[in-house]
Symmetry: C6
Subunit: 74 residues, 6 copies
């Protein structure tokens, strides 16, 4: 399974995303992802050092600033 | 809805944008966005830690330095 | 008006540019800009926290490291 | 052997990856890699200064934020 | 004159280059430049805060990490 | 000689590479390089401030995070 396919297999599930230039992680439901790894999350929550910082709702993350994506089982 | 479509659905509304290499957020009316997520904002305002820093008026943000885009209901 | 068109509409005028990895702003006359937002400025001046740092004359800025472009009325 | 071929030759083996904007290294089994060096790791573990920080399981790393990839013999 | 043409007009002359992730400037003779603004400098010298740090000779700079290029009259 | 050709002329020789987001330099034998300046080094050694930090053996560096490449005569 290629990296892009692995990410697409997570659509509809909760994922954790680390972004460049951002000390906090984002956790949310993966609504969609495109070939550039641009990401549309719903019910997104910002975490820092494992603690919930704030709820952000719907948001879009720019693919080229994504560092890491993984399934989230919180 | 793909990430780009989600952003385009926000045209004419207020959005919040986090940029790489910039500690402050930008809030403004989304005038237009292209496929690279380059963004044209009007009535843009710079915020830091939730406090208004200054009004910037019209500006263009370079897409590949966008980290996060979301609807803004301030 | 798309973001690129907004920037092109500023040719011949003074603009302010924030660059990634650069704490100072650049202000100068926009001579030309291409589709990657590479920018050719004349009479460029470096500002930090609103204070003039030094005059730089002609310079070229690499588009993918541009964060923000806006009209400058100094 | 071109750089991409060198990385593909590591599929099925453990690799160490340094990511931009991340002070820790990632070690895991290389499941797949595409032409952009997007990477799918299984059994990934985060290391800092040679000490194991935490297990991360499956994850995807964005190719343009990869700094360094090498075989890992731990 | 487009930004790329402005840079090409400096071939054979001394230029100053600011790179991302590098606190020092590079000054050298522009041997060649391509469409990505990859740069080949000869007789390159590293400067920090206007002071000469060390001579580097021939080197190649990666275009997407260039911040600023300008003619150098030292 | 274009920048890419200059780098290719170093295949089989020792080079020094500065990477973005990495305070140390890498020195090693250039095995191969592609059009994106992705680099395959053998016998790579990490240096910081001119002091040898550790031997890394074979590794691949992602081209878009390369800052500077130069011949190394150590």
């Amino acid at each position: 399974m290629l990296p892009n396919q692995m990410v697409k297999s997570l659509i509809g599930k909760n994922i954790r995303v680390e972004m460049k230039g951002d000390e906090s992680d984002l956790v949310g439901r993966l609504e969609s992802v495109d070939d550039y790894m641009n990401i549309f999350l719903s019910n997104a929550v910002e975490y820092r050092n494992g603690e919930k910082l704030r709820s952000l709702g719907n948001l879009v993350l720019r693919g080229n600033n994504v560092i890491l994506i993984q399934p989230y089982e919180g």
